[in-house]
């Protein structure tokens, strides 16, 4: 096999229970997950609403990250021919990003939730479908990344940052101006597909960069967007200086302190950090989305 340049991704994340959830005796309602195969990685973060109308939102969040991993894997294999991912034309990318992803994520998650609910909670079987979905309401933020492009998707609050090697930070999907206070759009919403925000990012295969995906508990802990965006620069700098293991060892404590000094909400932060790597004999690696199964590409 010919040598070729490909990218490896270091993926890591952590969810911590917020102080207000401890005071209210509520469980952790955030979740994150990831999946990597040859040619792509997908990272997902979800934040269950936690309101009285969404008592099963922690389950909804977990299902959302699993759904995201499955949907993007299926999309990759069905639409992006292996070894030809670089050649997907612009129209196909656009269609994939704008139309198919929101539809597939919404459908798959809602189908999974309904199936689970009907199997496990027969006492509530006379609820309307929309009412059942609301019990599991959650946000969902995803980064799907290949060697030369990434698709970012978001429904609800939270944020995705892109940090380039020169320290430039951007938030391709800006804050939804309709949402203030404690409001969010939801994967359980009737019009969830319209509420998705999508961004398509293209880059040279050799461009290393950091994607930071987080729940709103993290964003709302900072006094301003500028203060929040500085976190992206700090994480990338620490990755360069101290390596991925340093982040893995300290992330939980940093998030716990950030929640305590900040919003008090559950906090999740997860990363994809791309590193150029020259492979002679690429091996397929499959990782099921789980906090414990992070790829270590130090």
């Amino acid at each position: 096999m010919n040598d070729r340049v490909t990218t490896s991704w270091w993926i890591w994340g952590k969810s911590v229970r917020g102080v207000t959830h401890q005071l209210q005796n509520k469980p952790l309602q955030d979740a994150w997950g990831q999946k990597t195969e040859e040619g792509f990685s997908v990272l997902a973060v979800a934040d269950g609403h936690g309101s009285t109308t969404a008592p099963y939102s922690a389950i909804g969040a977990r299902l959302a990250v699993e759904t995201a991993c499955d949907v993007f894997t299926a999309l990759y294999h069905s639409l992006i021919v292996p070894d030809a991912s670089l050649y997907l034309n612009m129209a196909q990318r656009y269609r994939l990003a704008k139309l198919q992803i929101p539809r597939d994520l919404r459908r798959r998650w809602q189908d999974t939730v309904l199936q689970l609910h009907l199997e496990s909670d027969v006492t509530n079987n006379d609820l309307k479908v929309s009412d059942i979905l609301r019990l599991y309401g959650t946000t969902l933020l995803t980064v799907f990344v290949t060697d030369n492009f990434a698709i970012l998707s978001q429904i609800g609050d939270g944020a995705i940052l892109v940090v380039e090697e020169d320290g430039t930070v951007s938030q391709p999907i800006p804050r939804d101006q309709r949402l203030l206070g404690v409001e969010t759009t939801s994967l359980a919403g009737k019009y969830a597909e319209q509420d998705f925000k999508i961004s398509l990012l293209m880059f040279e295969p050799s461009s290393p960069m950091l994607f930071l995906v987080c729940s709103d508990g993290y964003v709302n802990s900072f006094e301003s967007d500028e203060d929040f965006h500085m976190a992206g620069i700090d994480y990338l700098d620490r990755l360069h200086k101290y390596g991925a293991k340093y982040i893995q060892e300290n992330l939980e404590e940093w998030l716990t302190q950030t929640s305590k000094q900040g919003s008090g909400d559950d906090v999740t932060v997860a990363f994809i950090w791309s590193q150029q790597q020259k492979l002679v004999d690429p091996k397929i690696t499959v990782e099921k989305g789980s906090q414990e199964n992070a790829q270590d590409a130090e």
């Binding site: 320290g167 900072f222 620490r238």
Partner: protein
């Protein structure tokens, strides 16, 4: 057989289907000893008093009862704040008579909040609309931070507006935080204009509260400043956007007033 296409060497750029990139920043010194990111702080909760100081408030000790009730609410408000360590309760006060002015203009953390008595102005009228316009300025972003928790607006009046209150109300309604704010209206005495208070509250879950005694006034102020504020300070996330929805859980208000044989107001 066709030769495979080479990957396009594109500069980094975005296809954003909605809005341009929101922020870019370079060249910051990094402090690896601290938590990642810039300044961290609790989410603010702004509490606004809108207090009637018109001539009629000089009658039957109304203004003294109001001062006393607010003074007595401070300690319970501090307790609520202490129990909710991840939100910062901040108070601002507007008084209105012939005109509306700030009594406490800066958002003051409840821990530092001291009540300085307000006076009622004999022969002055009720410029409630002007008070609404002052609040409207504060419900924009900025000065209200985007990450705030919903504000609480507490309007207390014993009469009816003498200015064009509707234009002030309309201005307030045009701000992004109006719809998310919890608004309460307390009428002092039987001459209070309940329709205007209801219009201000604009929420069927929150009734107009009518105080006919100083004790009732104290109870209603306590419900707003403590019970309702507590609900705002620890709210769960609520799904909204396309599917609509409420913002904050509304606790049960105090029981309807029991009118004694000789209500003073």
């Amino acid at each position: 057989m066709m030769a495979p296409m080479t990957a396009p060497q594109l500069p980094l750029f975005y296809w954003d289907f909605f809005k341009p990139i929101s922020f870019q920043q370079t060249g910051r010194q990094v402090n690896t000893q601290s938590l990642p990111g810039g300044k961290i702080s609790h989410r603010p909760v702004r509490f606004f008093f809108l207090l009637d100081c018109s001539g009629s408030m000089t009658v039957a000790g109304k203004i003294d009862s109001l001062n006393q009730a607010i003074r007595e609410a401070i300690a319970p408000m501090r307790e609520v704040a202490a129990k909710n360590p991840t939100a910062e309760l901040q108070v601002q006060v507007i008084k209105f008579a012939d005109t509306a002015t700030w009594h406490i203009a800066n958002p003051t953390p409840i821990e530092k909040f001291q009540w300085q008595s307000i006076e009622a102005y004999r022969d002055q009228r009720t410029a409630m609309g002007a008070a609404f316009r002052l609040v409207a300025e504060q419900l924009r972003m900025p000065p209200m931070p985007e990450r705030s928790l919903p504000p609480v607006l507490c309007l207390i009046s014993d009469g009816q507006p003498t200015d064009d209150y509707r234009s002030g109300l309309k201005l307030m309604q045009s701000t992004p935080w109006y719809k998310r704010a919890l608004r309460t209206g307390i009428g002092i005495g039987s001459d209070a204009d309940l329709d205007v208070l209801r219009e201000f509250i604009d929420n069927p879950e929150i009734p107009v509260l009518v105080a006919l005694t100083s004790n009732q006034l104290a109870d209603f102020i306590l419900w707003t400043t403590v019970t309702l504020t507590q609900s705002v300070m620890m709210p769960p996330t609520q799904a909204t956007g396309s599917q609509g929805g409420t913002n904050v859980f509304i606790p049960k208000p105090p029981s309807p007033p029991i009118v004694g044989p000789i209500p003073p107001w």
